[in-house]
Amino acid sequence: MRTAVATTGARLGLLACESCQLVSRPASATEPGFCRRCGEQLEWRRHASIETTWALVIAAAICYIPANALPVLTTTTLGTSEGDTILGGVVFLYTSGSWPLALVVLIASVMIPLGKLIALSYLLITVQRGSVKSGHERTRLYRMVEFIGRWSMLDVFVDTFTVALVQLQPLMSVDPGPGVLFFAAVVVLTMLAAESFDPRLIWDSANPYPARHG
């Protein structure tokens, strides 16, 4: 492993614009000012990154419970209604013979959101404890969270287009259940959480730079 202190922008008192990547010297350490090229407000690290990310992760974790417990679809056939949860949908796909699709939905709707919550919590805890180990692995984990997060929206689309098509009153109709809203909330909140987490924090504890406030 590299033992020398790495030359980061923050150590040299230089900061990169988050929007256009231009490296510049800030107006002052506490009030960095605005990017000369694109006019974006400059920040050493994303503002209140840890607090914001924790808040979004906790909110998403709370929504994850009703998202899985409440039905996402309600099927009404000749007067009788039946609710289907996300896992119920997976079981339906599996029993109707399309197990590859059942697996895709299981991964996208159940495992990815849960994995994102665990991964982001792990990243937050290691940053808060000032861990200096496995920076590469943690950065890779963060990129994975960022990359696959969008795929959990899958079930929202499945439900939307099932509802939109199966409107054959009075014969049969499918209506969205209360779980959809919570599930959509989990997806949006975890995507926002991944955006508010600043991956540079992973490297900062191995490579401290003079404390800056503001």
Partner: protein, 223 residues
């Protein structure tokens, strides 16, 4: 330190390591020497390819949103839906927020991406590119994050297979258009040289763009 030297160095967005990007051959990539984040990519093609792809994608996008995605028929009754129709049906079923979210991820974000991309690619043919091109680039990146056509396509396929148990479902023109967009939109992003464009944009403080890194003498990473 020379301000031009500062402006020509790069701080890795993932780990803040300060480094300089060497002259890259066409198609060459530069990765962060610490965390491996891709810092730069030298385009192999001219600016005209992203523009051509964007025009094609915009036409396909309009078709995708105006033609039916799929038709369903069961015991003599038929139903069909478009992308917006799906979102609107959610709205009608008292799931307003979900409907808006679907409309945003499937129509507004990809539409905004294409519209802004088209405008900025045309405007960027001027040199230096006008200041507002930078503003649009920022928007383009947000739209790209929330544009989920590929997720929607898979979602529709799953829905089709679920419904196929109950009724006959046929894919419509809209469906094929979405399929084409799923290939076209990433093709734009891959061939678009964002870094190169930033270097040609007029600065917010009114300055002209500085010398390109290629014109600066190679220097050590500032210590």
């Amino acid at each position: 330190m020379d301000p031009r030297l500062i402006a020509s160095s790069v701080a890795c967005p993932d780990c803040d390591l300060l480094q300089r990007i060497p002259q890259l051959p066409p198609g060459g990539r530069a990765r962060c020497s610490r965390c491996g984040h891709q810092l730069a990519k030298q385009p192999t093609v001219t600016n005209d390819l992203p523009l051509a792809l964007t025009i094609a994608a915009t036409i396909v996008f309009i078709l995708a949103n105006t033609s039916p995605l799929m038709d369903l028929s069961v015991v003599g009754r038929t139903a069909s839906t478009t992308i917006v129709g799906g979102a609107y049906e959610m709205w009608l079923q008292n799931e307003e927020i979900t409907g808006v979210l679907v409309a945003f991820c499937a129509v507004i974000a990809p539409g905004g991406y294409l519209l802004f991309m088209l405008t900025l690619l045309v405007a960027a043919r001027r040199s230096p590119a006008p200041y507002w091109v930078g503003e649009m680039l920022r928007w383009v990146n947000h739209f790209q994050l929330w544009s989920m056509l590929e997720v929607m396509l898979l979602g529709i396929l799953v829905a089709l297979i679920k419904i196929a148990q109950l009724a006959t479902v046929d894919a419509g023109i809209g469906m094929y258009c979405v399929g084409a967009l799923v290939l076209l939109i990433p093709a734009i992003a891959v061939n678009f040289d964002e870094r190169g464009l930033w270097e040609r944009v007029e600065w917010a403080d009114g300055e002209k763009p500085p010398l390109s890194p290629a014109e600066l003498a190679p220097a050590q990473v500032p210590k």
